[in-house]
Symmetry: C2
Subunit: 361 residues, 2 copies
């Protein structure tokens, strides 16, 4: 088992990463005896892991609530269901909420924990690779509003995060690859040595070898932890974590969130952003190609489809309020492993980078 400390003064906590942790949670975190725990999970994950978790939570009163699985359920309605369940089981401020599942369960459960009685403890047990490397660090919680993603929420840090890599055994290949996109992202903007390690260990990672997974997840989390410790509430340097995301988000919007998983769109977005970094002369030639090879080895898409008009990507970025900032504040790469926040790209340069990321006709 490896551990990474998330250093946030009195809100600090540990992330524990390893194999078989679900069967021995008492070795990972303490829950006061005789207290009540509410486990929030979803219909896909609960049948696989809920009983194991419950069995290893010895001496506490374990309750559970199983939600439907999917981003479309990250709504006010399901947040209210969790609150109602907390009330039904007579939760007090001493109750601990545990989320067992991917990002949706973590975000919804985290915000219920943030807002019930002005905040109760919660522990995250992320079971998808994306949630393990991304959602598990940073304290972002909340739900979607019909008018926008993640419009309602809070920064609420968990008291502990436990990553049992065994849960990745049951993760579909496409979702596993999508999670790897966020791993590549963090290496690309701040850790060249890690990028090289990923290149060397790509086959072991794709074979989901436990040692490779534990090392990769720990290092991803350690990198993200450093960024979050510097900028807990996303006022500055945390923007680096958006590398590839402005372009990726526009692609997701234009394809109505139906064609790409988030990580897949981010992979294509990183290809555009790295190409723009080269075109602008900010980073050495070849970075885009190097990134492409790694993403390809992880079975991630590289090209923007030919039927998407680059102007539509730019217009979408302009229209979206969150991405207006993205147009003027794009994350580019100065050298491998060194992301920067850049406001000096002009529209023709951005358009050229987008066009160059489409298949030649």
């Amino acid at each position: 088992m490896q551990t990474v400390k998330i250093d946030l003064a009195e809100r600090s906590y540990m992330v524990s990463i390893g194999s078989g942790l679900l069967d021995d949670v008492n070795a990972v975190f303490d829950i006061p005896g005789a207290s009540t725990v509410l486990v929030i999970s979803n219909e896909t994950v609960a049948p696989l892991y809920l009983d194991r978790l419950t069995a290893s939570l010895v001496g506490v009163n374990v309750q559970s609530l199983v939600l439907p699985d999917g981003e479309s359920y990250k709504t006010s309605e399901y947040w209210s269901q969790i609150i109602d369940k907390l009330i039904e089981i007579r939760s007090t401020r001493d109750t601990t909420l545990i989320t067992l599942g991917g990002g949706v369960v973590g975000d919804l459960g985290g915000f219920a924990a943030a807002s019930y009685m002005r905040g109760i403890n919660f522990i995250q047990i992320p079971t998808s690779l994306l949630a393990q490397v991304d959602a598990s660090v940073g304290g972002k919680t909340g739900f979607n509003h019909p008018r926008g993603k993640n419009l309602i929420g809070a920064f609420h840090q968990p008291v502990a995060v436990m990553v049992d890599i065994d849960t990745l055994e049951t993760l579909p290949a496409r979702e596993f690859s999508a999670g790897l996109a966020e791993v590549v992202k963090i290496a690309a903007v701040r850790d060249e040595e890690f990028l090289t390690w990923l290149e060397n260990n790509s086959p072991a990672i794709m074979a989901r070898e436990p040692e490779a997974l534990t090392g990769m997840i720990s290092r991803s989390i350690a990198n993200k932890a450093e960024v979050v410790a510097e900028d807990e509430r996303e006022a500055g340097v945390r923007a680096l974590l958006n590398f590839g995301h402005s372009f990726g988000h526009a692609l997701e919007t234009l394809t109505h969130y139906r064609s790409y998983l988030h990580g897949e769109a981010v992979a294509i977005g990183m290809m555009i952003a790295s190409r723009l970094s080269e075109l602008r002369g900010l980073c050495e030639a070849g970075f885009n190609e190097r990134l492409g090879k790694l993403l390809q080895s992880f079975n991630l898409p590289l090209e923007l489809p030919g039927n998407i008009d680059p102007d539509d990507i730019i217009d979408t970025m302009k229209l979206d309020k969150k991405v207006i900032a993205g147009l003027t504040r794009l994350i580019l790469v100065k050298s491998v492993g060194h992301g920067i926040i850049d406001s000096t790209s002009d529209i023709p340069q951005i358009a050229a980078a987008i066009k160059a990321s489409q298949p030649e006709t």
Copy 2:
């Protein structure tokens, strides 16, 4: 104008107290030019003060939302209305939310500010005495659930609080007195000198003389600020602020929140708690009488009605989860101005103190 600093590390802010502040808000706090401000008010306060506030917010885009007035509107529905309004006016993280009104508007607006895009700035302009001395310090925000008061919410500190004592001119006498109960409370548990000052200035306070009000509110806030700075998330010493509240809350519950304003119930609760402190030999004889004289000069009720069975008060305290802690952890007074958290009173002693607070038959 007097100012009190609320010292909470990076969440510190100033409370400004004075006369005429609504007409010159720029002298009190800074809102970046050209930014958007959403003012949340209610149907009682808005006609009196909203135009003055809007007129003095020069150079910013001011929007407003007026809610119905009353505790029964502190619900999920009206919180959602504020969120929808924030979305409708295309608020970003740079938008500032201002609450202009009593505790309901402050709690609802504060929680909307806490949860919109994981937190935007908000400024409180409390217009009732209760909100000025109590709700304006501490960062408690939220709304009621059909199953309990304040079940949903967050600790979210404002960036500034402005108390214009002129707004007290239009406050009904009964509400003004109810606010004074919280002032007496804080003096009773931690500031004997202030208690004496209140006794000496009672006529000026009841005449709502500006100088007396400014001094009284500033000192109340300074006292509460010290407690909150020590215990922001209510884990320990902040419980002292519940002096009189466990008994008062039981009385409110038994009378279905119809017979007493919160401050009135707290006044009666303080009489019971001070009598218990004397009966237990914890504080000098005469404290209960001294407190009673002061509360009476503020037109507050002192006696528990004869038709209420003391056992019902105790049973209600036992049943209410928040107040179970209240039974075992009552706030008593060791000497005038020195509250303590006490767990050593037994039921017969508590019952005796309650009975002694009823009219003789």
